[in-house]
């Protein structure tokens, strides 16, 4: 059992850490405060080519393995969670189905520019009444001539209001429930496609999240992203594990940033004549944080290894996401305790980690749903 | 073997740099313990007046005077120093760890295959040998080192490491006639001197350093006035230089200059590691910052927790009063 990263992966880790430190970290406070999409940072960062992380070299990508991908997700979340969400949307969810099912013209128009950061991608699942319960999707796609007519409203879409194209989940046959779900590509400028309300979020600020409205939007047949009808949910399964592990990796990144702050503060803050790091209860917190982060990291690494080697990791991915997120929430909570009252001020970093971490409860499945899933998978096997 | 100490005298703008007197003073102190003598080595053109100023500080003053040496170049100066060392075979040569010192001493050591310890801050004579103190990793670790002394070895020291002591030695002036050779592969096209009467940052006894808390280049005027009152120099943190409020020439820190003044005052300086590494050997450190958690208070001797803009006017007035008294 080799727990070490290869020399290549280690070099990648060092390089991405330095890159995030140079380009994203100095802007992270500003991104959070302004709560506007950071176009300059986007241009600077995406010009380096990292949006092609997961795609093959032949089309300008990096062909990164899953371990490297997790390293990337962790580091960029450490830099700025809001920015990370937008970036990762272009890297994974917003472009995957286009890569998988789009024809050459679509790839040329959407995928390649998205990899260069010239176009912004997104994926639309969530609606007002359906989050985890995909079967309750109300957005419909009805066959209309040599195309489809889409009607509905999507909510909580990362990059939604600023996207150039999106992959939308719609039902072609409500009676079939999950088996009626399919993916369609909708591009900006298509009549009837517009963005609606923007959500002002507690955290992950800087990324624009909001409502997308499909009002009699007609798209040609080639925009149907799939081999056959009814397999939408099945295709989601392709990336669901990675999305869950990715969320866990982001949790690790936030926790790592928070942990570093907690450690530094424990060493420098003097109370009653000595650094508070000398006191047992602070040491206990550090011990707990370190232990749980190590455990979370091992789970994420294991999940990534399973995924990379084509093995079933549905349970591990769900467990890892859940565990890493819970650890992260605990770490940011402890940070605000160690930091004292200053954690309550916008001027200092801890409050940002505290707010940002909260959103991880939702991406990739709420923990209540995940636990039910995990239990079902395990007990179901008996 | 006699343990003669040679000291390279650096000149700037027609006068002898303070660091040269510091090195001569220390060299004399060492030589008294090692029962040897100190030579000051001054190389240049029309140096008579300056050479005379060295008499109090050295047992012997070696003067090499040549038109070709009117301006510093490593090739010409090196050819001279090489010949002097080959002739006199001193035990050790001290030099300043300045821009000039860093340019010539490594090459000199390489040419003569002698050991060199650079950027040192202290030296003692103990167990019949010179033990040299050198900070590493920005001062996180101090090392004591020694050189093999089977041939002349070299040590360069940071400015402001030693006190100047005039022992009125009434040294002997010796003129050396030495051939100067120039490397024809290097042609000097032009020189631009900085139009400034500013005290050198590394030689200043008083540095008032501004950080991000100064909120803008215009507020550095207050610091300049205080520096003038004290006969010192204004410094800047890396953040300030990166924001182009001040020149790189003012930068104190790891990627700027390492300073060691008698009194350092940080105004609105957070005290990030790369900065403190560049000034934490200052004799007395004062920090003024409105953030009680600012890292700089961990390195300071005294601190005022208040907005710099509240404190600076009062500081200027009080220092003016003090200077009048002195």
């Amino acid at each position: 059992m080799d727990f070490k990263l290869t020399e290549e992966q280690e070099f990648f880790r060092k390089t991405i850490t330095d890159t995030i430190d140079k380009i994203v970290v100095p802007k992270s406070q500003e991104i959070d405060e302004k709560d506007e999409f950071p176009w300059e940072t986007w241009k600077e960062f995406t010009s380096l080519g990292y949006l092609g992380l997961r795609y093959p070299e032949e089309i300008g990508g990096m062909n990164a393995d899953k371990i490297m991908s997790m390293i990337f997700y962790e580091e960029i979340a450490r830099g700025s969670v809001g920015f990370a969400q937008s970036v990762i949307m272009n890297i994974l969810m917003g472009t995957y189905f286009i890569y998988r099912f789009g024809n050459d013209a679509i790839k040329e128009r959407c995928l390649l520019p998205a990899m260069r950061g010239e176009k912004i991608a997104t994926m639309c699942f969530t609606e007002d009444q359906s989050g985890s319960d995909l079967g309750a999707t109300r957005t419909t796609a009805v066959k209309d001539g040599d195309g489809w007519r889409i009607n509905g409203t999507k909510m909580w879409i990362t990059n939604g209001p600023i996207c150039n194209f999106c992959t939308v989940l719609a039902t072609t046959d409500p009676s079939k429930g999950l088996k009626g779900l399919n993916f369609f590509l909708v591009e900006k400028g298509t009549p009837g496609f517009s963005s609606g309300q923007i959500i002002h979020k507690l955290g992950c600020r800087g990324t624009v999240t909001g409502e997308l409205i499909f009002d009699d939007v007609w798209v040609p047949d080639e925009n149907f992203l799939g081999d056959e009808l009814g397999k939408g949910v099945y295709y989601v399964g392709d990336i669901l594990d990675e999305v869950r592990l990715m969320t866990g990796a982001m949790a690790l990144g936030i926790a790592k940033g928070a942990y570093k702050e907690a450690l530094e503060f424990s060493k420098k803050r003097i109370a009653f004549g000595q650094p508070i790091g000398n006191y047992q209860l602070i040491r206990e917190k550090i011990a707990d944080i370190d232990t749980s982060m190590n455990a979370a990291r091992l789970m994420i690494n294991y999940g990534a290894w399973l995924l990379e080697n084509g093995m079933d990791c549905r349970v591990t991915a769900a467990e890892a996401k859940m565990y890493a997120t819970e650890v992260c929430l605990k770490v940011v909570d402890e940070l605000t305790r160690i930091y004292g009252a200053n954690a309550f001020a916008y001027e200092y970093i801890p409050q940002r980690y505290f707010r940002d971490a909260r959103f991880l409860l939702y991406g990739g499945g709420t923990h209540e749903v995940l636990k039910d899933f995990i239990g079902r998978m395990i007990i179901g096997k008996i | 073997m006699s343990k003669e100490i040679f000291v390279f005298v650096e000149c700037k703008d027609g006068s002898i740099r303070k660091v040269s007197y510091e090195l001569l003073s220390k060299a004399k102190e060492i030589s008294q313990k090692s029962s040897s003598i100190v030579y000051a080595v001054i190389i240049g053109s029309n140096q008579d007046v300056l050479a005379n100023q060295l008499k109090d500080f050295a047992d012997k003053v070696l003067i090499v005077d040549n038109e070709k040496l009117s301006k510093y170049r490593w090739d010409t100066f090196l050819s001279v120093m090489e010949q002097i060392i080959k002739k006199y075979k001193p035990y050790v040569m001290f030099g300043p760890s300045t821009t000039t010192g860093k340019d010539i001493f490594p090459r000199l050591a390489a040419r003569l295959n002698g050991a060199i310890i650079s950027d040192a801050v202290d030296v003692v004579f103990d167990e019949n040998t010179l033990k040299i103190k050198k900070p590493l990793f920005g001062g996180k670790i101090i090392s004591w080192m020694k050189c093999k002394d089977d041939s002349t070895f070299f040590v360069t020291f940071r400015p402001n490491s030693f006190i100047v002591e005039n022992r009125s030695l009434n040294g002997e002036l010796i003129k050396e006639n030495i051939d100067v050779s120039e490397d024809s592969r290097i042609v000097s096209i032009s020189t631009e001197k900085r139009e400034t009467k500013k005290v050198d940052l590394q030689e200043a006894d008083f540095i008032i350093c501004g950080g991000r808390g100064m909120k803008g280049p215009e507020h550095f005027q207050d610091l300049e006035e205080i520096a003038d009152i004290m006969g010192g120099r204004v410094g800047a943190s890396r953040a300030v230089v990166d924001s182009k409020w001040r020149d790189y020439d003012d930068q104190v820190g790891k990627s700027g200059k390492t300073v060691s003044p008698k009194l350092y005052v940080g105004c609105g300086v957070s005290g990030a590691l790369h900065h403190t590494m560049g000034m934490d050997t200052s004799k007395v450190i004062v920090a003024i910052n409105k953030d009680p958690n600012a890292l700089i208070f961990q390195y300071a001797d005294y601190g005022i927790i208040d907005d710099v803009f509240n404190v600076l006017p009062a500081l200027k007035e009080e220092l003016k009063k003090i200077k009048k008294e002195i």
Partner: protein
């Protein structure tokens, strides 16, 4: 044109450094980077390559196996070939030995232009560049702020000198040490990172280089020895000066500086 860049891997400024109990050696936390000033050297080499036809950049370092990381970083930025001059785990104190090894390597390959960082941030020595140039018998210019190749044979440089700047024209081959301000080191593109990950690092045993023998470069040849290491004596905790008004605080401070600290 053949360019060589010499780089050094140094401890991160935030790495913890601990003394061993016998105070004769130090342990460095496993956080390393390319020396800050060397980044400018790599960047300047790449910019020069962009202006000159038919140009190759080699990057080399004298260090242990983990130093290959900085070689890869240089390749990610745009260098072509990488060489590790293996120190076999020995950290030798004597810069002359390091310079001899680097010079011997440079001689073997034949370079028109050599860039080094002005100084290393761990020891602030600024020795290697000038020493290398001496061993190679080529001219050097320290602390360059601007660099231009005039033709294959000459370069024009602006460098930092005491109290100002100087412009010189130097015949190649020559060696230059880079000062901060000469350029803005680039952040590697993903294509560079991929190239660096796969790059072949040439590993060389210095003892096999021409003009060198083991006896010339191992510990016994070192003319410098470390007697002991110390941690600097810590300053006592800061004294915060109190007062009801800023004026009072300043007055109290000045009194203390005058009487107690004797700094005025």
């Amino acid at each position: 044109m053949n360019i060589l860049v010499c780089v050094k891997q140094v401890a991160d400024t935030e790495a913890r450094i601990l003394l061993t109990s016998d105070k004769k050696s130090i342990e460095i936390e496993n956080k390393y980077n390319m020396n800050f000033f060397d980044e400018f050297a790599v960047e300047e080499a790449i910019r020069t390559k962009g202006k000159v036809k038919d140009c190759q950049i080699s990057v080399c370092t004298y260090g242990s196996n983990k130093a290959t990381e900085v070689l890869r970083t240089a390749i990610a930025m745009g260098a072509d070939k990488a060489y590790l001059l293996d120190n076999n785990g020995y950290d030798i104190e004597d810069p002359i030995i390091t310079a001899k090894i680097l010079a011997s390597f440079a001689k073997t390959e034949g370079f028109d232009l050599i860039f080094c960082g002005r100084q290393a941030i761990d020891d602030e020595n600024a020795n290697i560049g000038a020493m290398m140039a001496e061993f190679l018998n080529i001219p050097h210019v320290s602390a360059i702020l601007k660099f231009d190749v005039l033709d294959e044979k000459k370069a024009r440089v602006e460098s930092e000198i005491e109290g100002g700047k100087e412009i010189q024209e130097v015949q190649l081959p020559a060696l230059f040490t880079t000062q901060k301000g000469i350029n803005e080191p680039r952040v590697p593109l993903i294509t560079g990172v991929m190239k660096a990950m796969k790059a072949q690092i040439n590993i060389i045993d210095p003892a096999t280089l021409k003009d060198l023998s083991k006896g010339m470069i191992d510990e016994s040849a070192s003319k410098i020895s470390v007697l002991t290491y110390e941690t600097p004596s810590a300053r006592p905790t800061v004294k915060i000066i109190d007062g009801e008004t800023p004026e009072q605080k300043v007055k109290a401070l000045i009194d203390i500086l005058k009487d107690e600290a004797k700094a005025l």
